[in-house]
């Protein structure tokens, strides 16, 4: 007994509002949590909820990649750093009221941007009052994305890849330093070591205790 089209649409609507509410709550948690570890976890929570919204929009590739890259890798490293650092909370909070106007300005700019996009889309004839338009059965999001990424946007894609490689090399080069007198292991020497180098077998005649 599959659900009818209308029931599915209602269900999608309900799920959208659930995910959206949780997403906003998570985002508020990021900036209000006292403990930075909690902030990072709230961010993870927000990522997972936005992945849920993307799943509702049938963008399963983006949703899973969001979880894979941001939740699975980036936030793990974030947590890693936040847990290791001994963060002084009072020091961190001192600037909160002083820089509040900057935060408000950024938020306003973001809202303006989103509204402009919605407005221009509305002008272009996209009906924004409806929910997500379902894709035809058998449509593969991943395949569609790959097709434009490797044909139409091949150069920007490769450019982004080169930029990332440059960033990796730069990050390694910046943190690479040779301190004198550092005792580091030479793995190939360790592997190549033989018993003769470490142990000296001595043969001697038995002696009588005097």
């Amino acid at each position: 007994m599959p659900l009818t089209g209308e029931a599915t649409a209602v269900l999608v609507d309900i799920l959208f509002y659930v995910f959206a509410t949780l997403l906003v709550a998570g985002a508020l948690g990021v900036i209000t949590a006292r403990n930075p570890v909690y902030s990072a976890l709230f961010l993870v929570f927000a990522f997972i909820n936005s992945a849920g919204i993307w799943l509702l929009a049938e963008a399963e590739f983006l949703a899973i990649v969001l979880v894979l890259v941001y939740v699975g890798a980036v936030m793990v490293l974030f947590l890693f750093v936040v847990m290791m650092l001994d963060i002084n909370l009072t020091e961190l909070r001192r600037g909160f009221t002083r820089f509040a106007w900057l935060g408000w300005l950024t938020a306003l700019a973001l809202i303006a941007e989103i509204m402009t996009v919605v407005w221009t889309r509305g002008l272009a004839g996209v009906d924004l009052s409806r929910g997500f338009v379902p894709e035809p059965a058998g449509f593969s999001n991943t395949r569609a994305l790959g097709q434009v990424l490797y044909t139409r946007y091949a150069y920007p894609f490769e450019l982004a890849a080169v930029l990332l490689v440059v960033a990796i090399v730069a990050a390694i080069a910046l943190t690479l330093r040779h301190r004198p007198g550092l005792k580091s292991q030479d793995i190939s020497r360790q592997v190549a070591v033989r018993a003769e180098d470490r142990v000296r077998l001595v043969k001697m005649a038995a002696e009588k205790r005097s």
């Binding site: 007994m1 399963e60 590739f61 894979l68 699975g72 890693f80 292991q185």
Partner: protein, 359 residues
């Protein structure tokens, strides 16, 4: 009797899909947990035999099968023990962490095709889903280590996080090779594409990737010889040092469920999943030996699980810097080279690329 069964099956077909899916999820979860229970027994038995001991042989089921009651005795013991929460621990995260460790290990089974007919969710991006879930398992470990407010636990969590991030890359690249060979991210298609006997499975053409994937799988599950996150000789028990009772049991369950999962995934990606190794031998026909079925997947999973146990009984633990070296400097370059080799194979139409739907 027979009519009753057909009647029941007909009734099953009329149930709403959400109920049928829920029942399947429950069945698979319970079976996985039972498998974990007997895997712990099998591990202790196998390692016992390898070390010329007997292993657990006291607790019986109804006076039969010496040793087989051991997992249940362990469960009862762990359930009745107190869950001690350290005074300065972060109580919420301390309780949440074991659940976060277990959930991805169970949720991954949703996309694994158990037999030619049976899979809970036929996801298009099943492979990506698995990668995403396996990368989320690390949260349970990191949070457990941090929330316990113990130095040993924290050290274990840090080691585990670095190790899992490093080996996930090698694992992902190995799966890119599988993806190239089958042209699909759906596990069902990946298995279907390996159709044929033993030599048409992916392991034959992607052998280096298979080795890299399985080694990374052992490292991802924090099993010996990559178990520095627990390292009982250095940091007592690592991330779960402060856990007791059923909270500890959940970590244990997660580790073993992950072992079964990695074994199943290795079977699916490189050994044809439910495909029969003797397929295509005409005299076997559609018998158990020649036909694809759940039996073959189960057998393959069992073999890989045995490898896990064998490794544990054989290899000494890696040093932390050696683990990092192996992951970054050995496994990742191997996968990159083999992806290049695959491009050559694809250009020359050999192996999996010789099949008709690639041209």
């Amino acid at each position: 009797m027979h009519t009753q069964i057909t009647h029941l099956l007909a009734l099953w077909g009329t149930l709403p899909s959400i109920i049928r899916t829920t029942v399947w999820i429950l069945i698979i979860t319970i079976v996985v947990i039972l498998c974990v229970a007997f895997l712990t027994l099998w591990e202790r038995k196998v390692i016992g035999w390898m070390q010329l001991r007997r292993g657990p042989n006291r607790v019986r089921i109804f006076g039969l099968l010496p040793g087989f009651g051991q997992p249940f005795a362990d469960v009862v013991k762990l359930l009745t023990k107190e869950v001690v929460i350290p005074t300065r621990a972060n109580k919420f995260l301390f309780r949440l962490a074991p659940m976060l460790a277990l959930v991805p290990a169970l949720a991954a089974w949703a996309v694994i095709p158990l037999s030619p007919e049976l899979v809970v969710a036929k996801a298009n991006a099943g492979l990506l889903y698995l990668l995403a879930l396996s990368s989320m398992g690390v949260y349970g470990i990191i949070l457990a280590g941090w929330a316990a407010n113990s130095k040993y636990a924290f050290l274990g969590a840090m080691r585990s996080a670095a190790q899992m991030v490093a080996y996930e890359i090698a694992m992902g690249f190995a799966l890119v090779g599988v993806l190239m060979a089958s042209g699909s991210m759906s596990l069902g298609t990946i298995i279907a594409h390996q159709q044929g006997g033993l030599l048409s499975w992916n392991w034959f053409w992607l052998f280096p990737l298979f080795v890299v994937y399985f080694i990374s799988g052992v490292a991802e599950t924090n099993r010996a010889p990559f178990d520095v996150a627990e390292g009982e000789s250095e940091i007592v028990a690592g991330f779960h040092v402060e856990y007791s009772g059923i909270a500890f049991a959940l970590f244990f369950l997660a580790e073993y469920a992950n072992m079964i999962l990695i074994s199943a995934l290795t079977a699916v990606f490189f050994f044809g999943g439910w495909q029969a190794p003797f397929a295509g031998y005409p005299f076997l026909g559609a018998t158990l030996l020649g036909a694809p079925s759940f039996f073959w997947l189960g057998l393959k999973v069992f073999v890989f699980l045995f490898l896990f146990l064998w490794f544990r009984a054989t290899f000494p633990r890696y040093r932390y810097d050696q683990i990092m070296r192996l992951g970054w400097k050995a496994l990742i370059p191997v996968t990159l080279v083999w992806i290049g080799a695959e491009m050559l194979m694809a250009a020359m139409h050999v192996g999996p690329w010789a099949k008709s739907w690639f041209h």
